[in-house]
Symmetry: C3
Subunit: 320 residues, 3 copies
């Protein structure tokens, strides 16, 4: 896959979206376009280290209404590696606390000639509402438990880098499925690219109704483990749960933590992923998290690549 | 008004100020210089979208001792569109909480080779105190209820863009005049440029003493409405008031909200302005805020243009 | 000392460190290399005002787990004057509050292709722990009461600029020695460069055991004052002390504040320094802080120069 920097300047004809709101509504071809573009950016910038002047004279606004350091910084760095300026808005200290509506806040940001708004909000559908009401491009950085499309894309890019193709792979999402926007985005993306998806966790966190999304539901990790090509170990979000979904953390770890013993019973080339931040000893033990099958830190680097690609594609489509 | 980018590099001979502390002390010519410069920047950068390398190698510090997202980001973006670096200081977590004086904080910022300090503080006169004690340029971003000069300038620029000239226009400032630094800056600027200014609101928020500033005082919006070319609907600052200045929000809206019914009785070409963030249904109803007479979002874009102009003028005068 | 900008592009052969964790482990030659480099940067950039493209395509992360405006902004500005991008992490709102380990947080930052991590933490040894666990360069911005190496370096650079040479000078560190990382870094650096160091303060804040570091211990400022070439007036950290180390602030000031009266009994060319933020009237009276012997604001500017030098040296050594 040899290419020139100039090639990056041409957005594929087939890409027409000026927003990225979820993976549910994307076609297989559109997802592939993002992944290909991310790969090209990664190669052109020596792993997203160098800058490309693809979005100079552009401004990207981070509009985060939930705490985030990692995703916020990832978007911010991706924007600046494309030569864009960034501005930061958060809920505390913002005009929202002065009685302004959400749409008015966004319209005011847009009126500062912002080109792309990256939005995270606790309410599902917020990015879609925004996209209907402002002219600039909108990228979802997570809307409540609904979707977190760039997380899904970076997970899929990481698998593709290591396996070449998603078709025919079995990918298990393990743990807190109920609260996970990452799970939903992975499911939509993985299935469109032909992977078989299993959601696995305690029944308090994994409902049979997930089968409606075309995935397999499992409650016993050890049963499905020998079939899995990839395990994506979702975080137990201690800070979100008001009722205990399992008797104790120790019991959860006993049943679902990926540890050295379970690695013995997994495929030889299994990939261990986790969207992070990880709780060591809960979803994954340190020997596995830091072991040769772990691609957890690759996911972080691919987050930059995917976000550079998405920023560039949506901004380009809007200007076309 | 055709021009070249190079022309922007020459600051008018008549501009000698290295600070912008208020509009009260500016001459009519100086205000016009800022507005003209803002207009040229806006044109040269396609509405403040592109960058100009007018202040590269400069650093602008935002020193905000009151919460602000909008004005802070507007100054920050304006600085970066001129090629300057920006740094952010705020009261929480700063050295002030360690016993340092305000002037020492500012001198320390200056010693980092900062060129322009943008300051917002709850105490009137703070920008003036700063300008007397540090060498770098000082721009007020609002000092308590005193003045908010760049807000006044962006309001006036917006009117000038739509009407061509301020002279002879009747501009009403409606609402919470007592607490409003925006009102004071508008009054000084508008009167110097020849506009007739009316301040209008409940008597608890509009004192007869405002007549001393050469403005007309009115308590009934419906009485003055037919004469107004511009309405600037000031925000009811619920977060500031400790005593209720009116019986109920509903009563305020009944008497002072700009709504569709009042639009029928206004001039055909009336301009509706609001410094934002707006309380929909209090100062203005949604149909008017989003209607064809509203220039509320133009004000936001003009904020960038005015701040680019002011940053460039004060930094240039200091170096001359 | 004439030179070209190009000369800065070559890191001295003798510099091999990709981290700056403390001054204790640096050789005299290494300290001199940093000071010389800082001096060259300062000259090449007209006192750190202009930019140099020495670290473009680099990213510097500020990872601050203690409040800081000054040091954080100094590192951030230094990085940007070298052409680097910066990202900010702080403890509040970060993934640490979600159960992630400190090392995992750092590894995630590294995976975003960060080149240099600047870390401040309340726990001594944190920078060393980080340097052992991540690939990118680590610079300490202070680890609890242990060391604050760039503060020590900027203090020493300031003395060297005014005296030419450290050898043979008598430098007194006055005040809160017990809680001061600045004191430790100054002691290591000053002694390696041949200065005689006195630590002076109330016995509750200055232990005899400091003699083990090769410094003179004194309890009476007036006794040692006539011998001092430099006084570095450490801040009484009111926000840190849980037991009162002296009966009253007034008593402390009476015994240890540098004031006009004491200046009469000091050497004619004494230098007055303070790492700031200063408590006026406690460690130093306003006439002395603002007087001709004070180099307090020079220290701030030299902070930029030292941090530019250190960022450039450690990043360069890592890539060699």
């Amino acid at each position: 896959m040899s290419f020139e920097l100039d090639e990056i300047d041409v957005i594929p004809e087939s890409w027409t979206r000026s927003h990225l709101l979820d993976l549910e509504s994307l076609s297989t071809e559109e997802i592939t376009t993002i992944l290909d573009t991310a790969g090209r950016f990664k190669e052109a910038t020596h792993g997203c280290k160098q800058k490309i002047d693809a979005l100079s004279d552009h401004t990207v606004a981070n509009l985060f209404f939930e705490n985030s350091t990692r995703t916020r910084n990832s978007f911010s760095l991706a924007a600046r590696r494309l030569g864009a300026d960034t501005i930061e808005f958060s809920s505390s200290g913002s005009s929202l606390s002065k009685g302004e509506t959400f749409i008015d806040t966004a319209k005011n940001i847009e009126a500062m000639n912002v080109d792309v708004v990256v939005v995270r909000h606790a309410t599902p559908g917020t990015p879609h509402l925004l996209a209907q009401n402002i002219e600039c491009s909108v990228i979802s950085a997570g809307d409540g438990p609904h979707e977190h499309p760039t997380q899904g894309l970076l997970d899929i890019l990481t698998i593709r880098e290591h396996r070449g193709n998603l078709a025919g792979l079995t990918v298990a999402l393990v743990g807190d499925i109920a609260h996970s926007r990452t799970a939903r985005s992975n499911i939509w993306g993985l299935r469109k690219l032909g992977a078989h998806v299993i959601v696995c966790g305690p029944s308090t966190l994994v409902s049979r109704r997930w089968e409606e999304l075309g995935v397999e539901v499992a409650y016993n990790l050890d049963d499905i483990l020998p079939r899995c090509d990839v395990l994506n170990l979702l975080r137990i979000q201690f800070e979100r749960q008001y009722t205990r979904p399992f008797p104790s953390v120790r019991e959860y770890a006993l049943l679902y933590a990926m540890n050295g013993d379970r690695m013995q019973r997994a495929k030889d080339d299994i990939l261990i992923m986790a969207p992070g931040p990880i709780n060591r000893g809960v979803e994954v033990t340190p020997d596995v998290a830091d072991g040769p099958h772990s691609v957890i830190l690759d996911q972080v680097t691919n987050g930059l690549a995917v976000r550079m690609a998405v920023l560039w594609l949506v901004a380009g489509a809007r200007e076309r």
